[in-house]
């Protein structure tokens, strides 16, 4: 079995309740593979005097800045797909591109995380995505992920963003029908799209087990809305309790995602645990001091640096333009973006699609 097949198998095993082990070994193996196959990354590492022979720990593996995905083709081989960051400023050249060499590994990672953190009860759901369909946005990693989610966990799948933007009339109609039927619903999409729905004044009581997965930051929001305000609105407008509202943190540059811990914690009997963004065990995040790129003290704010083993086919370690802090031993809280960094986030999907 190839390394990548073994990694995918390990991820699938974790999704089925197994234990994922050997992050360190996988990380060093991935680095050696990427150093060998990605010329731009090898050159970058060599300029810093780092080679697989000099790396003793996963924390020594050089991170590429997220901007590297805007400048270079970071692929270990022929790409089966390529996803683009959703920034709308600066033209197409300013958008990052993440080539996906192992699409099935990406799918396995995305679905494993989603299942663990969003459907830990293995519920089957009517999937309503506040996003354009795959045919309209084949280069969106979020749209791809949602399509996979629909296939894996959906009783039905519908998309509500078209050429004219978010189709609020159709969405309200569909939500009302589903509320009447009592069928559990997954309503997923950019946080900004939810706010637009709330701002119509619509309200319903969706069936038991219904849940929200929102993602993206403030970009594209029609008005500011705090997280507690968002959770209150989910209850008021949709009848979905806060513990069924799961925030997702993902990046086009990563094949794995972090999720709000709230639902997994509740299912595991840890209802009192604080909300934090947690990850599957093949995604680790370090919070680094901007001056030294060494880990900050626990709880202090720094730059987020992700190490995603599912990025086997590109570069695993990405230094982001996001600021945040670690919390609760296994989680992070994202505080914002570096000033001057290009706008991005899934809310941009709405901006881009709006007339």
């Amino acid at each position: 079995m190839s390394h990548v097949a073994a990694l995918e198998a390990a991820i699938r095993a974790w999704a089925d309740g197994g234990v994922f082990e050997g992050f360190e070994e996988w990380a060093l193996r991935a680095f050696a593979h990427q150093f060998e196959r990605v010329a731009a990354y090898r050159s970058y590492c060599e300029r810093r005097g780092v080679t697989p022979a000099t790396v003793a720990s996963w924390t020594d593996v050089p991170a590429v800045p997220a901007a590297a995905f805007r400048h270079a083709d970071l692929a270990t081989g022929p790409a089966e797909a390529a996803f683009r960051t959703s920034g709308t400023t600066g033209g197409a050249g300013a958008r990052g591109r993440h080539p996906i060499v192992h699409l099935s590994l990406y799918r396995a990672s995305a679905l494993a995380g989603f299942r663990h953190f969003v459907v830990p009860d293995d519920e089957r759901l009517a999937c309503l995505f506040l996003l354009p369909p795959l045919a309209a946005r084949p280069d969106s990693s979020l749209v791809h992920m949602c399509a996979w989610v629909g296939e894996a966990f959906g009783t039905s799948v519908e998309w509500f963003v078209g050429d004219e933007g978010l189709d609020l009339a159709r969405l309200r109609e569909r939500l009302a029908a589903l509320a009447a039927s009592g069928e559990p619903v997954l309503l997923a999409g950019p946080t900004a799209a939810f706010v637009r729905l709330f701002d119509t004044g619509f309200s319903c009581r969706l069936g038991p087990g219904s849940r929200v997965m929102d993602t993206g930051g403030a970009k594209g929001m029609p008005r500011p809305l705090s997280r507690p305000g968002f959770l209150r609105a989910c209850w008021t407008h949709l009848g979905i309790a806060g513990y069924f509202c799961v925030n997702e943190y993902g990046m086009t540059e990563l094949c794995s995602q972090r999720y709000d811990s709230v639902l997994a914690d509740r299912m595991a009997g840890r209802s009192l645990a604080a909300r934090r963004l947690v990850a599957p065990p093949w995604l680790r995040t370090r919070v680094l001091d901007p001056d030294t790129l060494t880990p900050v003290a626990p709880g202090a704010t720094g730059l987020l640096c992700h190490h995603d083993l599912a990025n086997w086919g590109s570069v695993s370690v990405v230094l982001t333009e996001d600021l945040g802090h670690a919390t609760g031993g296994d989680g992070i809280v994202v505080e914002g973006r570096v000033s001057g960094a290009p706008p991005r986030g899934c809310g941009q999907l709405l901006v881009a699609m709006s007339p």
């Binding site: 300029r47 790129l293 704010t301 720094g302 230094l319 000033s339 001057g340």
Partner: protein, 385 residues
Amino acid sequence: MTTAGLSRAIAAAIDARTRLGRHTTDATAASLAAAAPRWLADPALAALAESSGLHPSMLAEVLPRTAAMLDRDAMRGLVEREGTDVGEPAEWIACILASNVPALAVPAIALGCLAGSAVVVKSGHRDTISAPAFQRALAAVDPALAATVVPVFWPHDSALDDVLLDAPIAVLTGHDATVAALAERATGRVLAHGTRYGALLIDTNADVDYAGAALDVALYEQRGCLSAHVCWVVGDAERVAAGLADALMLLAERLPPAPATVEERAAVRTFLEEAAWSGAGVQAGAWGAVVRESDPTFRPTCGARTIRVLPLPDVARLPECFPPNAIECLGTNVPPPAGLRARGVARVCPVGRMQQPPLSWPRGQRPALGSLLRESRTAVMAIER
């Protein structure tokens, strides 16, 4: 402050302006010039270190430059060039100031007074001190003129903003988005000054003033529209990068960098990592950073004393290297190429003088005084020697 209170203050300033009657521009210039050193000596300005985030040594360096803008002869010359034969001035002018650099209120008040209008100045949140301090200084030398000036501040109050945006002339400074949002609500004529940058052009075949170039980068911690973000080099770019780095290092000993927030430090790190990834030559430290790139296309840096050094094989092609209206000021050690005015450059000056503009600086290519007196349709670029 209430909207009614603000309206009363504005009305009183307009009355004071009317009472001032034949106060000559000579007398106005003399009063402003006399107020400048008094303002500079005001102990209240010491508090700017905390509110602006600039090191006291930086403030000691930059505030005299602001005071120097109010040179009596220069103001008289400005009035002669731009302030005659223009009919009645506006009753009052509202200036809504950005908070990126301190003491923006001083030239704003001076220009308003020279225009013959009452002036209402809303300070930025990081400098609520300069405007009232200057009014106090002016009151000490010319109470009648000082009565035409209304310094105000409020953090967020759109109703009060709207009173100012009802002015016959509103001068707005700040980020593009902020200025655009305010301009939409203005009912009178708007002079908008949004986000712009400074740049250096250095030819290594001529003498290079590295210390001066470092000042052009570092003063005001690179927060203003006159701060150099790139340095185009005709000749040996590597030598210029090294010279700039050395000069910035030396300057940091005299003018220590302002304490940076984690957001600012993260922005610098992101800038440096991207540069390192792209193979650029990077020299960085607590003093700032010099990044030597191969593409001459203008891109601003993240600030905090960081500059891109870019090769320019043909000086005549400089205007092609930056987008229209991106560059406010060019500091250079050689004669500038043609085409800069058409590209939106407002000011060309010798290296080392970028952060010392005269009051006549045609900000945004508008005549400094003339644009307060009449609609200006001609783009102006000043070349200082």
